[in-house]
Symmetry: C2
Subunit: 251 residues, 2 copies
């Protein structure tokens, strides 16, 4: 396969490097096009009003890819439209430090990179590991490699998959679930502070609501030790409301 790798943790993150090693070892043709530094929580942002700089990156004397001063969605667009000679067979985004499940999916640059590929008609997998501390990227990359081989051949209308991997030893992973996004809101708060000149500023704090219910959703299965796979769409229309809403008549 021709694989394009990207992420939102930046081109020098260990998560993307683990994917690179795993896919190269498997004999795939891999190119990395990723942000030059961390661009977490940028959602589906793109860079329209500034120039996008690119820098070739080498590892041990060999071409690794390009570092971009843009967002994950920019990376996918630029790679496909300008940097790569041929369209990739698959885009893989990650491995992200921290789960991208539930409402997080909307804020995630990692997931938006996969969505961007899907908009362009290319299959894509976003991958995240459910920890912020000492992630086992190499073990996770092993699963991603198998998932990529499976998804590449799988006949489906869905082009983008959002995958979350629990941060537990391999033998404790219970299984794989295809499931939907949890839609609960965060517990959110803002911590108010004053700078040395007396100006007010805030830090954004957020945490998941602990109770994910016993329902069939990504957060619930992830917490039970499953790898979760959620098919992702880019049509945001709430279709069940199309017939429900009668347009108003103004006089």
């Amino acid at each position: 396969m021709k694989i394009l790798l990207t992420n939102d943790d930046g081109i020098y993150s260990l998560g993307i490097c683990a994917l690179y090693e795993a896919f190269i070892q498997d004999g795939h043709e891999v190119t990395v096009v990723a942000p030059e530094s961390e661009r977490s929580a940028v959602g589906h942002a793109i860079t329209l009003n500034d120039p996008i700089k690119v820098k070739e990156i080498f590892r041990s004397g060999e071409k690794y890819g390009w570092a971009i001063n843009g967002t994950p969605a920019d990376c996918v667009k630029l790679a496909i439209e300008a940097l790569l000679k041929e369209k990739p067979d698959l885009v893989v985004s990650g491995i992200n430090l921290g789960a991208n499940a539930g409402i997080n999916v909307l804020y995630s640059g990692t997931v938006s990179a996969a969505t961007e590929a899907a908009i362009k008609g290319i299959k894509a997998i976003a991958v995240s590991i459910d920890t912020f501390k000492d992630p086992e990227y190499c073990a996770a990359a092993f699963y991603v490699k198998d998932l990529a081989n499976w998804f590449h051949k799988y006949k489906t209308k869905c082009l983008a998959l959002n995958v979350n991997i629990p941060s537990i030893p391999a033998h404790k992973i219970v299984g794989i679930k295809v499931t939907k996004q949890n839609t609960q809101t965060f517990k959110e708060s803002f911590e108010q502070r004053k700078d040395p000149r007396g100006n007010i500023y805030f830090w954004q704090c957020a945490s998941f609501i602990d109770d994910t219910g016993d329902e069939d959703n990504d957060l619930a299965w992830l917490h039970k030790g499953y790898i979760t796979i959620t098919p992702i769409k880019f049509d945001l229309t709430q279709k069940n409301c199309l017939k429900e809403i009668e347009p108003p008549i103004f006089t």
Copy 2:
């Protein structure tokens, strides 16, 4: 109604000012919480790794609202969790300079602000006008005011509406259509240049595919002179693929 206004063109844009005037004249309680400068195409980005500064803004000696060094989604979160005394009855985002229809919806900060309100269980309308030149904001604000009054009372499962207004004289507007998001990709390209030091950079260029088909979608109706209303969701699961995809079994 208690109305929270935001946008992605910045607090000093004429589009949000036109909404403020229209709603105030109608006797509503209006607060503006908007980015201090333009934050277009930021999608659903949020600010987690930097402090969010707030600045009170006055117009003619009266409190107008708060300018925020954050994204539209940040504005909605911060307003509801920290700045407003009470939850608003309605969030209105716009009036955006340029349509937010079709695939643009995913990149739009304007639409993401409305989605953010919906996540928090609050009704919201994102509004954009289909021109980048000499927009008739005051005429558009007249429609938005009527739409806001109608939507506030309307019983529906949908919490967020994406509204696009054609940039034509009022008597030429054909009607209002509740319709779905066009999902065609852009015609995209990147213009390659060299800086004075010989480094390569790119400008992102994109335009809609002209043929929107005769289909029932936001771009098609907008081009025919209709105000379009698209109900927007924040569950990105492609549900028709949940049963279609069998999880792989790894050995």
